[in-house]
């Protein structure tokens, strides 16, 4: 019985809400409330991985669309409904805050070289001797980069890139079966690591550390 009454109440409420939205310009407050609700979500989502921010951005995109759709009617009917206008005018600053999470999302997957190094040291997917061997190869590659940045013509960028890709392939082939998470993290940061190595300034900064 309780369920039936709940279902009836829900249907009545939902039909009532549907009726209210069509004639009146309720979308602005509706658009405003999700944004306020989303703002803390994105703030919480920043420490997490990139999966959450895109969701917030996908949610954030419809919000401006609804406000953009509702803005012209509110502009036409706006004169009598001043409080709604205030809500609508309050929305644009929130729209300014809404694009902020994508910036955070862009900075969130920053390259954590120390973290990757620690994880490579700790992983059980690679044996001790293999790790030592890989470390030798990384040292060799870094020496080649040092030569290149010192102005020597011999290791060209193309050669360095080939060596870098080969080394990455070796690391990934060792990791992919037993530590897929680390392998995928390395794949995702592969180009950024290359960027650090290829840029003389960032490479010098890396060497200084």
């Amino acid at each position: 019985m309780g369920r039936y009454s709940a279902v009836i109440m829900l249907t009545v409420l939902s039909t009532g809400c549907m009726h209210e939205t069509k004639p009146q310009t309720q979308p602005p407050p509706v658009a405003a409330t999700p944004e306020t609700a989303k703002a803390p979500q994105t703030a919480k989502a920043t420490p997490a991985t990139t999966t959450k921010p895109p969701a917030s951005t996908s949610k954030a995109k419809p919000a401006p669309a609804t406000t953009a759709k509702t803005a012209p009617p509110s502009a036409t009917k706006a004169q009598p409904a001043t409080p709604q206008k205030q809500v609508a005018s309050a929305a644009p600053p929130k729209q300014v805050t809404a694009p902020a999470p994508p910036k955070q999302a862009a900075t969130a997957p920053t390259l954590d070289l120390d973290g990757l190094e620690a994880r490579l040291k700790q992983t059980k997917a690679i044996g001790l001797m293999t790790k030592l061997s890989l470390r030798n190869k990384v040292d060799d590659l870094l020496a080649q980069f040092r030569q290149h940045h010192a102005g020597k013509p011999m290791p060209t960028v193309a050669e360095l890139r080939r060596s870098y890709d080969l080394l990455m392939m070796k690391v990934l082939s060792l990791l992919q079966d037993h530590d897929q998470q680390l392998a995928s993290d390395i794949v995702s940061s592969r180009e950024r690591i290359w960027g650090l190595l290829a840029d003389p300034k960032s490479f010098a900064a890396l060497q200084a550390e």
């Binding site: 044996g127 001790l128 001797m129 030592l132 890989l134 030798n136 060792l174």
Partner: protein, 86 residues
């Protein structure tokens, strides 16, 4: 309770006896895989290491499936060396 423990004691002893070689075997398998990867990283032909012997710390003798034998060790400069044995 005590009778149960006494009754299970032989089984526990057998399990303990069997567990130690199994762990050693796992270690040996891991070592073989490790050496296989090292030899492959050095670009030497091997296929798969079928037997490995610990000579010293970070110093191994490996026999490959294709019959090749290698001395794999870390030299005093910290570099991993793979020497082909005849």
């Amino acid at each position: 309770m005590r009778k149960r423990l006494i009754a299970r004691a032989p089984a526990l002893l057998v399990l303990a006896y069997l567990a130690t070689p199994a762990a050693a075997q796992q270690d040996n398998e891991a070592l073989k895989k490790d050496l296989t990867a090292v030899i492959a990283l050095q670009g030497q032909p091997c296929g798969e290491v079928v037997s490995a012997t610990v000579l010293k710390q970070n110093d191994y003798a490996a026999t490959c499936k294709d019959g090749n034998k290698y001395h794999v060790y870390e030299n005093d400069k910290g570099r991993v060396v793979v020497d082909k044995q005849k």
